[in-house]
């Protein structure tokens, strides 16, 4: 039997050095006994932690993966943790994948210990309560008394430095303490409850807040205790009022019921939603697409524009911004129009369908092509825009635009390449820019882009002639 004595409960560097040497000699875990020096020495171990690794030559340091898997569990208060950790290291020699087998009893136990330590770290971050001391020069010093379950003070202290770097404070616990003077962190030995202040005037306010943010109609003591076990209550100023709050909850809940708002059926009759908006586009209920969309997107541009550009429907960005062609397809259209010499600002830009049709998928919205019935229902609005703007030339982008313009049986491919006469304007048809965005093949993409530009140039020429 070999006895290894570590300098303290948090002497993990000493443990790793000794464990590596033992493993190298293939010493069985059963033949090692792990001891730690008395608790007063903890503070030296903690303070020396930064120097300690030098004691171990690089060659006899345990594998990185082993350190990662045990670094946290070694802070557990269970004296058997060192033996367990060493057993894992020794087994690793013959079972190189051991640490990946989370269901192995040793690995699972080490994992459970690490989880308990992490929980303790988290609870310490949560439940430390500072009390203020005010000195005659009006400066403040904050002191907390806390009782962690495991050896976590040194591990948690930097968290408090991060948030209270410009305060001076001490966190006192039975086995170790952390002190911050505004510039440096000092770890020291344990303290007692009597070393910390007994009260803070702010606690009356804190208890008032705790009492009133509690909803007595939702009393659930079990859920509270699961997260805030009684072992922490002694050092929580709000815990003193938990019992009276619980006892008084039924009466308070009944009082809340008595004072309940009475939901009158309907304060005013709700007519057709279209009525309120005077039948305007935002109140449109001609098809169900309004339901999921943010808003209807009307056309945009001068009302005396010679050119009207008609797309399919607003997309994700357009639905939110309330403007047509401001998303990726819009940017591509802008680029193409600029190359073809068409000024977008002088054109009236709109869509065949005014609401975005999509399918929610996680945090995305997948575009869906509008159905013929939806395009037909929306013709009401497009016809209105045509009558208002009276464009000389209409540029239709894609099949939905054609249908919206009343060309039910025509296709882009049959109309492309030449101008056509509509009752109120000349028509030039081309593909929708989002079609170009969807193409994957680079050659195809280049070819289609050129064809698209050619169509736009044709539109520009036609515009000049009209």
């Amino acid at each position: 039997m070999r006895a290894i004595t570590l300098t303290g409960e948090t002497d993990t560097a000493g443990f790793y050095a000794a464990a590596a040497a033992l493993a190298q000699q293939d010493v069985s875990a059963r033949d090692v006994e792990w001891r730690t020096l008395a608790r007063e020495r903890d503070l030296f171990a903690a303070q020396d932690a930064s120097l300690a690794p030098q004691r171990a030559a690089d060659a006899d340091r345990p594998p990185r993966a082993f350190i990662a898997a045990t670094r946290v569990m070694l802070l557990h208060r269970d004296p058997a943790r060192f033996a367990l950790a060493y057993r894992l290291l020794h087994r690793l020699k013959r079972e190189p994948n051991l640490l990946q087998i989370a269901s192995d009893p040793d690995v699972a136990r080490a994992g459970a210990m690490a989880k308990a330590v992490r929980r303790d770290v988290h609870k310490m971050k949560a439940f430390v309560r500072f009390r203020a001391l005010r000195f005659s020069d009006d400066t403040e010093f904050f002191v907390s008394w806390f009782e962690p379950e495991h050896h976590v003070v040194a591990a948690v202290a930097p968290h408090f430095v991060d948030r209270f770097a410009n305060m001076r404070w001490s966190i006192l616990t039975p086995r170790a303490s952390a002190h911050w003077d505004g510039a440096a962190l000092r770890l020291a030995g344990g303290a007692t409850r009597a070393d910390a202040p007994g009260d803070d005037a702010l606690e009356a306010l804190w208890r008032t807040y705790f009492a009133h943010i509690f909803n007595p109609a939702r009393l659930n003591v079990k859920a509270m205790q699961l997260q805030m076990p009684k072992k922490y209550w002694a050092n929580l100023p709000e815990a003193a009022i938990i019992a009276p709050l619980v006892a008084g909850a039924p009466a308070r809940a009944r009082a809340m019921l008595a004072a309940a708002p009475r939901l009158v059926a309907a304060r005013h009759a709700c007519g057709d939603p279209g009525d309120r908006t005077g039948g305007a586009l935002q109140g449109c209920r001609r098809c169900p697409l309004w339901r999921d969309a943010t808003q209807a997107v009307a056309g945009e541009g001068p009302l005396d524009a010679a050119l009207m550009i008609v797309g399919e429907q607003p997309g994700d960005r357009e639905d939110i911004a309330g403007k047509p062609f401001v998303g990726p397809a819009g940017r591509l259209l802008d680029e193409a129009l600029a190359r073809a010499g068409v000024e977008r600002a002088k054109a009236y830009v709109t869509n065949a369908v005014k609401h975005f049709k999509f399918e929610p998928r996680g945090k995305q919205r997948l575009h869906k092509t509008p159905a013929a019935a939806e395009i037909d229902a929306c013709r009401h609005w497009l016809d209105g825009e045509r009558a208002l703007v009276k464009p000389k030339l209409i540029l239709a982008l894609g099949a939905s635009a054609l249908r919206g313009l009343g060309l039910r049986s025509a296709s882009i491919s049959s109309l492309r390449g030449s101008a056509h006469a509509l009752p109120d304007a000349t028509l030039i048809a081309t593909v929708h820019p989002s079609y170009l965005l969807r193409l994957r093949d680079e050659d195809e993409k280049r070819e289609q882009w050129r064809a698209f530009l050619a169509d736009l140039r044709k539109a520009q020429e036609a515009l000049q002639e009209l």
Binding site: S103, H122, N166, L219, Q227, L236, E238, L257, P261, D319
Partner: protein, 413 residues
């Protein structure tokens, strides 16, 4: 009326804020007080500093600036026609409370909301002023969540996001018509437009920051919303559908559900006189299935009767019972996407199964070490030493999986 002390105002304005379910302080990214003048840090995870006897976490100082309100939303305790005691904090009082509580490690920061006084613009302006004072005058680096008012001037919303980690706008109800009836001053299109505006601001600011670290942050913890459950006739599936839409449309971080309490007159036929807490719990489970388990609203609906989620069984189990042909699932072979559909198996445990089974064939005893309980999953899985046989198809499987009836203790008040 005698002048109220801060402590009296705190009692009134915390009372008024307790119906807001959110207390999250996560996602703000790394920030510390080192090198600054004040206090505060956020490390992304968020901390619950206390738990009240309703089992809910206290992470933020959650208060209203005032509970005076011009609006008359029928479901709200602060509506103009309600006769609750009223109070209003000064800007200085909110700033001092936040800092004093923070310095004692009671809280992660401030969640500030308000009734509407004078005008939406005036109220929003005051909320922004408090956040600005904390950030600029006191260099406060803890968490700030501002409830924003959809009708306020967009310039104020733009400013709010420069100081706040999170912004939220309450959607209130799943149904637009119910909203216009119960909250005549609110409108769903205005709320959606504001959420859309926030989404674009947040995305654009993220894009700018990706290009340059000097670009200002804008609500780095995103936006969230809250829906009231039980105040109108919306079915669970309508509510889940609304949530799916909100996540997709506006990239919300969270939708919170708040069981309406107490029960309105229109539901007087119901035997329970307390908020429908179990219903709220099931909605949260369904919400999780949407966001982390790859379920669609339609799939969640397959287990729901008449559009309502089963109160006795969680929505994943009801879905599995309605789709038994897909089970049992072999835990040693099934893809991750199928593992997370096993009742009782969570995301973390599924990840551990995938990592472990590369080296080791899993038996039931192994599974019991990887998860908290295997009771619920055994009828739905195969392991190296386990086949459920006829159990998966047993007629009374649903009854067997139901917990003992004492769950309903939650309603006992």
């Amino acid at each position: 009326m005698p002048k109220l002390e801060t402590i009296d105002k705190l009692a009134i304005l915390a009372d008024a804020a307790k119906y807001d379910a959110s207390c999250a302080s996560s996602g703000a990214g790394g920030r510390t007080s080192r090198g600054g003048r004040g206090v505060g840090a956020t490390d992304g995870a968020g901390i619950c500093h206390a738990y009240t006897p309703d089992g809910r976490c206290v992470s933020l100082l959650k208060i209203l600036m005032t509970n005076y309100c011009m609006f008359d939303c029928a479901y709200c305790v602060n509506r103009i026609s309600s006769n609750v005691r009223r109070a209003r904090f000064t800007v200085e009082e909110v700033v001092a409370l936040t800092l004093d509580f923070y310095k004692r490690n009671y809280i992660e920061g401030l969640f500030l909301s308000s009734g509407i006084i004078r005008s939406p613009d005036y109220t929003m302006g005051e909320l922004v002023r408090i956040a600005q004072r904390l950030r600029c005058d006191h260099d406060f680096r803890g968490y700030i969540h501002l409830k924003t008012i959809p009708d306020a001037d967009p310039a104020l919303l733009d400013e709010a996001g420069l100081y706040a980690d999170r912004l939220s706008i309450n959607i209130e109800l799943a149904n637009a018509d119910a909203l216009s009836q119960l909250a005549p001053e609110k409108s769903l299109p205005a709320i959606r437009k504001s959420m859309g505006r926030l989404r674009l601001k947040i995305e654009d600011a993220k894009g700018e920051r990706a290009k340059s670290r000097k670009a200002p942050r804008y609500a780095p913890s995103g936006q969230s919303t809250q829906m009231i459950v039980g105040a109108d006739s919306a079915r669970d599936i309508d509510i889940v559908g609304t949530s799916a839409l909100l996540y997709a449309n506006y990239s919300l971080k969270r939708v919170y559900y708040s069981a309406f309490s107490p029960i309105p007159d229109s539901s007087a036929a119901l035997p329970l006189k307390a908020p429908p807490l179990m219903r709220e719990h099931r909605l949260y489970q369904a919400d999780w299935l949407l966001r982390y388990y790859g379920f669609t609203v339609d799939e969640i609906a397959t287990g729901a009767q008449g559009g309502m989620l089963d109160l006795a069984l969680d929505p994943k189990t009801t879905w599995a019972l309605a789709n038994r042909a897909l089970f049992p699932v072999d835990v040693n072979r099934a893809p991750y996407e199928m593992l997370i559909r096993i009742p009782g198996l969570g995301v973390r445990a599924a990840q551990r199964i995938v990592a472990t089974r590369r080296f080791h064939r899993l038996r039931l005893a192994d599974l019991s070490r990887l998860t908290t309980s295997i009771r619920k999953m055994t009828p739905f899985i195969c392991a190296a030493d386990w086949r459920p046989g006829a159990l998966t198809d047993e007629a009374d499987l649903a009854a067997r999986l139901k917990p003992p009836a004492r769950q309903l203790d939650l309603f006992a008040v």
